[in-house]
């Protein structure tokens, strides 16, 4: 089975089949259900909300279809297997199993019961639904194609520059996200801060505190993954986040070669920020276009989107060759 077929099966076909099966089960059970049916359950597992089963019948196909379309677009749009993509695809069958299983299971516990209030507990359905979903996601994770080993760089095409035998050289650059990305993130941040204000006003204090902490953490991680300093010198290359962590290095002894490459964030790395694509190929992806790709002797690569990548690659190659 080809890599692409595996992705389609795991991320699109299986979830759609699960959703279809749950809709069939619900339709079959429909005549034997009480009216109204239980649609909400309390913390003890006993039903506490009642209504029409139509919500379940619509929810499952709509959500699973929408997610499948998203997964399909991800498969179509990418050229390499990225970790990001693997996560998105493994979530698809999980989502279908949990939604379809809980909806169909929740209705099945009421089949043949005259009054929905007498229906059994939802807890077994919850356990089976989530357990099954997690098991399936794990199975799919391993069924999905492992990242392919990255192709070798052609040593003849690697750039170099003139460096006297005892000349010392350094290349330093601060990296920032592309301007449009900054604008998008700024708007998102404004919305989230607005949300925080609303949550603060209306929600109970613990919820507000959790929300604000979560927002703060996401903002911190975002800033940490979008602002970097990259430095090349006689010790190799260091990419350090503006927060000081994370920090990625390739010591000069480990530099097999460096090249200037062109990066398309969505199709090549599955997005922006710190990304893995291919086997042990880590990307710090802040913009589309030129990037420095450093191959390790120990396997894998570090890719950093930056201007002046040709000179950076040339310096690393020359330093590595001289060492």
């Amino acid at each position: 089975m080809s890599a692409r077929t595996r992705m389609l099966v795991a991320g699109v076909i299986v979830p759609l089949l699960i959703a279809a099966a749950s809709v069939v089960v619900m339709l079959v059970a429909l005549p034997s259900l009480p009216d109204p049916v239980a649609v909400h359950w309390g913390p003890s597992g006993a039903p506490d909300g009642f209504g029409s089963p139509i919500g379940f019948l619509l929810l499952v196909p709509i959500v699973v279809l929408a997610y499948s379309a998203f997964a399909f677009a991800i498969i179509r749009g990418s050229r390499t297997e990225t970790v990001n993509q693997r996560i998105v695809l493994a979530i698809a069958p999980f989502l279908a199993t949990v939604l379809g299983g809980l909806s169909a299971g929740g209705l099945l516990t009421q089949a043949g019961v005259a009054d929905a209030r007498d229906a059994g507990s939802i807890l077994p359905v919850l356990i089976v639904g989530f357990g099954g979903g997690i098991a399936l996601a794990v199975a799919v994770w391993f069924f999905l194609p492992a990242p392919a080993p990255i192709a070798e760089l052609d040593p003849a095409t690697l750039p170099t520059l003139e460096l006297a035998s005892d000349e010392r050289a350094t290349w330093v650059r601060r990296l920032e996200p592309a301007r449009w990305l900054g604008i998008v993130l700024g708007v998102l941040a404004a919305l989230v801060v607005g949300g925080a204000a609303v949550v603060w006003l209306v929600a109970p204090t613990p919820a507000a505190v959790i929300y604000v902490l979560a927002v703060g953490l996401v903002a911190l991680l975002g800033a940490g993954s979008l602002f970097w300093t990259v430095r090349i010198d006689s010790r190799g290359i260091v990419a350090r986040s503006a927060l000081g962590w994370p920090r990625f290095t390739v010591p000069l002894e480990d530099v097999a070669g460096a090249a200037s490459v062109s990066v398309d964030p969505t199709s090549g790395f599955g997005g922006w920020g710190v990304r893995w694509a291919g086997k042990r190929r880590l990307g710090i992806i802040l913009s589309s276009g030129p990037a420095l790709e450093v191959r390790r002797r120990s396997g894998g690569a570090l890719v950093v989107t930056t201007a002046d990548s040709e000179r950076a690659a040339a310096l690393l190659n020359s330093l590595a060759r001289r060492a």
């Binding site: 000349e167 050289a169 350094t170 290349w171 330093v172 601060r174 300093t229 002046d308």
Partner: protein, 116 residues
Amino acid sequence: MYLTVDPGSATPLFEQLVSGIRAQVIDGSLTQGERLPAAADLADSLDVNVHTVLRAYQVLRDEGFLDLRRGRGATVASRARDYAQLGRDIERVVAEAKKLDLTPAALAALIRKAYE
């Protein structure tokens, strides 16, 4: 920013740093307001004394290329200066000097003389 220093050269290290950074401000590869590496980091990378880097930064501040502020480190001066024309002129002068087999030192001496 790309910088090289050659300890074997007769030119003092701080002067090599000064001319390297100045050239990049003039050719536009360092842009207005851009932050330069912390002196300690740069000294570390080039294996020179941190005072050598600080001296180079101070010279460049005195020449109006850099702003030095406590806490913010060195930034490319925001004083509006457009070096594009000068960059093009220098290219032309250098090309002409090469045509006439003038050494860089000879050309530099001529330019210095023109200043006097």
